[in-house]
Amino acid sequence: MSGKTAMDCVKLARDPARPHLSDFIGFMCSDFVELHGDRFVNDDRGLIGGFARIGGEKVLILGHNKGASVEENMTANFGMANPDGYRKAMRLAGLAEKFRLPVVTFVDTPGAYPGREAEERGQAEAIARSLEFFAQLKTPVVVVITGEGGSGGALAIAVGDRVLMMENAVYSVISPEGCAGILWRDGSKAPEAAEALKITAHDLKRLGVVDVIVKEPAGGAQKNHRAACAAVKQAVLAALAELKKISPEELLGLRYGKLRAMGNFY
């Protein structure tokens, strides 16, 4: 952490060379089977999911997909999901619950997609329902913040029993640029806003939002995908092993208690 500013973390978290969802799946999982569609209108490419094995564990993977090529960046809206993406996530998580498999989510998005169709198909409703849904899902949920945790679009798949965060990832209620534009009336004050918002892994651990910080290879995850993914894999397996011992009913109570304690200062 020494000497690194919040804005340094923002830059690292957004580095295109950082491992993306396909890298995590490639290095951590075997036999990934992607499943498509929300059953209403679309198969969102900004948020994808499917069944996979991590070590010996069968799990459901959900994650924001920023895309590995320019072409994929475009079809996936750089990981900014549409309502269809969140509805697909709920559908697949429902399957995991039905077949008693844990869910592992990978969070890396600038935010939910701000588009005309996104609003018309109920972006707000999809995120709201997703929060309510994951709070009640009767199977373990492990969340990994891998890059940018951008506001409601990130939170929609970040309600879980264990929240892991990579050392150089950030997670915030608003982008530093957006916050600076509103509260400083000057987007170039983003570094000040980033500092004030407290968005680094260490800040979030202190605030009780994050349970585990996953250390990154020297210089950052972009320098060594294999090592970065191995560290995440180990942390995910450790979290799954703990959660396996808890009954689904007890898990729901603990998850509610965890959410309930967020920002209770009274």
């Binding site: 005309r116 109920g122 709201a128 929060l131 407290k198 309930r260």
Partner: protein
């Protein structure tokens, strides 16, 4: 900006201004006439903003509102400081000006004789933003409603999550959604009234989770801001984009209810549901 703008115009304190301007159709009215019409535009029927206390007067049976959780207030756990100064100073000034201690006022009351837990957001309190105190009041209200077997009614009015409280304000979206989920699991009704404006983190949490979601004519309801969307998609959006009428057309609102009918409508639904 333009040459016609008179920069020297003296500032008139809002309470002394004689004219009210409808923000939707830009028509001018005498302020007293606007007030007398319950802050509804006589020309275009836009339902203007009300303070939490005005809304409670409109909604609760006289003398029945019993406020709770007033001690739950904003939290400056980040020591947040922006270009305008410290958050604490801004929050304290807001408390002094509005007489409220958070952006939602919560209490038990009767609506046409039906006992309910009522929450009303006040846009004048830091833009109705969702802070940790707001989320805590809503979560507590859900839990109290479950214990007392009361239906929940929330009137929302908010620009979204409160940046000054950082990530924990974002977490209030999850906390409130979880608490609403438990209330519904307990078989209790939740009526969400999305008033002008309900956007961002509030529309994307408890406001969109009603057993029914209702609104008033011409209210602005959405997730992302119009300008952000236009800058993203490089297109002009239709004039009625994110209006109550637009949302009803797209299937996200059960009904648009006139202000004068709102109380009776809520009572009628509770009556149908046996509460």
């Amino acid at each position: 900006m333009g040459w016609f703008e008179n920069k020297e115009r003296p500032k008139i304190p809002p309470e002394k201004e004689l004219w009210a301007v409808c923000p939707k159709c830009k028509s001018h009215f005498e302020k007293a006439a606007w007030r007398k019409n319950d802050s509804i535009c006589p020309k275009c029927n836009y339902h203007g903003r009300l303070s939490a206390r005005e809304r409670i007067t409109h909604t609760a049976d006289a003398g029945t509102f019993n406020e709770v959780f007033r001690e739950v207030t904003y939290s400056d756990h980040l020591g947040f400081h922006d270009a305008a100064g410290p958050y604490r100073g801004k929050a304290e000034a807001t408390i002094a000006r509005t007489g409220e201690t958070e952006s939602v006022v919560m209490g038990a009351c009767s609506i046409c004789g039906h006992r309910v837990m009522l929450g009303v957001m006040d846009f004048a309190f830091l833009g109705g933003s969702l802070g940790t105190g707001t989320g805590e009041r809503i979560a507590r209200a859900c839990e109290l409603a479950v214990r007392e077997r009361l239906p929940l009614v929330i009137f929302s009015a908010s620009g979204g999550a409160r940046m000054h409280e950082g990530i924990l304000s974002l977490m209030q979206m999850a906390k409130t959604a979880a608490a609403i989920g438990r209330l519904k699991e307990a078989g209790l009704p939740y009526i969400s009234v999305l008033t002008d404006p309900t956007t961002g983190g509030v529309s994307a949490s408890y406001a969109m989770l009603g057993d029914i979601n209702i609104t008033e004519p011409k209210a602005l309801i959405g997730f992302a801001g119009r300008r952000v969307i236009e800058n993203t998609i490089h297109q002009k959006l239709p004039a009625d984009f994110q209006s109550a009428e637009y949302l009803e057309k797209h299937g996200f609102i059960d009904r648009i209810v006139e202000r004068g009918e709102m109380k009776g409508f809520i009572a009628k639904m509770l009556d149908y549901w046996g509460f």
